[in-house]
């Protein structure tokens, strides 16, 4: 699937804003992404949120990713 990377995450993928990666769940996707781009590790440590068809998931690694979903990776954010 096409995975879009935002902000600082794209730097860990050599500047690419969109990468090809596979995964039936968020956990599988992040694992595959890490294998492809080891520099992503520090961002995974800081936390990555995954937007699937517009819904943002911060913690659920078991969340399924439907076929042809719009997948967007964001840095994990803080709130007040």
């Amino acid at each position: 699937m096409q995975v879009q990377l935002s902000g600082i995450l794209s730097q860990a993928a050599g500047g690419a804003r969109c990468v090809e990666c596979a995964g039936a769940t968020i956990g599988e996707l992040l694992q595959a992404l890490l294998l492809k781009y080891p520099e992503m590790q520090s961002h995974l440590d800081d936390g990555i949120a995954v937007a699937i068809n517009g819904e943002i998931y911060r913690d659920r690694r078991d969340q399924p990713i439907p076929a042809n979903a719009d997948v967007f990776l964001l840095p994990r954010i803080q709130g007040g």
Binding site: Y57, R60, G79
Partner: protein, 753 residues
Amino acid sequence: MPYETDYTNQGFSKVGTRVNRPDGVDKVTGRAKYGADANAAGQLVGRILRSPHAHALITKIDTSKAEKLPGVKAVLTGKDFPDLTGGDRGMMNILENCMARGRALYDGHAVAAVAAIDADTANEALKLIKVTYKQLPHVTDVDEAMKPSAPIIHDWVRTTGVTPAPTTASNVAQRTEFGHGDIDAGFAQADVIIEKSFKTEQTHQGYIEPHACLATLGPDGSGELWVTTQGHFTFRNVCASLLGLDVAKLRVTASEIGGGFGGKTHVWTEPVALQLSRRANRPVKLVMSRDEVFKATGPTSSTSVDVKIGAKRNGKITAASAELRYQSGAFPGMWAMLGAMTSFACYDLKNVKSVGFDVLVNRPKVAAYRAPSAPMAAFAVESVVDMVAAELGMDAVEFRIKNAAKKGTKASYGPVYGPIGIGPTLEAVKNHPHMKRKLGKNQGRGVACGFWFNFGGQTCTDLNIGVDGSVNLTVGTVDVGGSRASLALIAAEELGIDYEQVRVTIGDTNSLGHNDTTEGSRGTFSSGMAAIFAARDAVEVLKQRAAATWGIPVEQVVWEAGEARAKGKQNNNLPPLSLKEIAAKSPRTGGPIAGHNEVVADGAGVSFASHMCDVEVDPETGATKILRYTVVQDAGKAIHPDYVEGQFQGGAAQGIGWALNEEYVYGDDGRLQNAGFLDYRIPVCSDLPFIDTQILEIPNPNHPYGVRGVGETSIVPPLAAIGNAVSNAVGVRMDHVPMSPPRILKAIEAAQG
């Protein structure tokens, strides 16, 4: 047990009603116990010595005289906090912020701590600690700190987010970029382009209750911490990690909280209090003074922002860009990134780019403040939106409606929106009676929009039914804005009982599994979700008990209106069993009846608000009076409308203070000049009109009741709404927050030449 989190559009009998708050009597009679209200036998008084310099090497600390003072039981400096972080830079930053390690990084940075038998002795001991400093060059302004000539705060910081990766140190900790499309092409299509720069000054959350804790830590590594906090589980984890404790052996209890707004999401003095207690082997109570709260906790960023927006004559924006520079204090943060993500989130833009620079300065470590970083970005963007509308000769609300994001819009920060409320809030503003009020001389009206993400997170909840049918719901999210009332309504709704039958308690860290901090407007969203599922879990037990009592299969039992009913003609002779009846028999039907749920409450719906305000500016003094203020915000589903309105009003009130008066003032020596409420002016009742509210309910598809967080978004639009109103009143574009009387007069005089 997993449950379906999708919105179901169910009807409600309890949710949405305005019941009495459960903590009201305790709070007005003084019974409620806040951070400084706990005491322990033999407790000591903790005090912290702070740097008087903005930036200095600590060449020597002599604590010998303090240690010899009778009554002093412990003295600590940076060397008493060994590095147990395992190379985790983020944890080391927290540790170094709690106690300096060889270098004071800002005015107020902790350099030593004492515990003594009373306050006088502790204060005397602080005076006996001799610290030798070598002052270093400092920088407190965000733009100055980015210059190549600026003193470097940390020699290990390399700017991330730039290619190639730099090899030399910089005060720019991070560059982040968001957006899509081609902004050059977009601006080329524009008939009108407006470009302007803005500044906002640093503000504090201004919570009335200072940080306070009572710490007990024994030589066996077991401890107790009573503390005012937004997240006692997070405090437990951080303190245990910094001090080398087992998480399970540190029990943290959250006191009632006298305001937090993001400022109580981080530890400041708590690890120090625990370490003092461990050293003295006695409880230590540590309460910050207001001066310390201002100097050494986590205010907002001060910022410097450039915005450029282009539009066609038909009112459609063709391109928008922003560069946002946010200072994060003396340690790296993500604040400019959040500004960059939120800046254009209200709009449907084909070509958009926002770039954020997180910048280190010699100021306290920045913390979240209600929708962190979004208000400053909104001030700049919404000001330019007004300017573009004016240049086009369009009504500013109509211009916003024409460009508002909607379901299917690709957000400026990346993802595609689901159902959202920005359009409906703007339509509500357009049709609101407020907009029809006639304005007088020296008066102006302003409108602005705001966005915040909201999030959920780890949540764990227990629900226990007593033998009399009363219900205790134990949650782990600190109640910062009325969640206990809302959660009681949810439990009552699910169980079909009266609200008054439910008591909600905030459990300590040993009574529940981990709960994330109450931040990101998550309290009612996530604990509400867990409460629904815990109640449904308990209902299954209630049905089983009824089935066993009747001697029928549980599949033939339904739960309706607070009672078990047997289905089917064969069961017509079985009268319903109420929750009270089943609970009364519970000791002999299987024991206590309880429900439990742990959930990662993801899918929090994003939140939008639109505000309108009328102001009158005195042209002789520059003083601004807020004549009328109205908040329109999407709540998804308002569980307890009074509290939702209270959140809307509270955010607006804080935003009004930020817009008009509040400001950290630093001298040339890098020291804070106004660390107290006499010189740092937050709004009081007489400064504010009654703040009108309008709740919109556009259900969040990812919550069974449709709930969205409501606690933060209301602080996003006020700076811009007031900025637009003041600009319209005085006929000069205001570009610097706070718009204090001297700043308004200066702007008027500058415009007059």
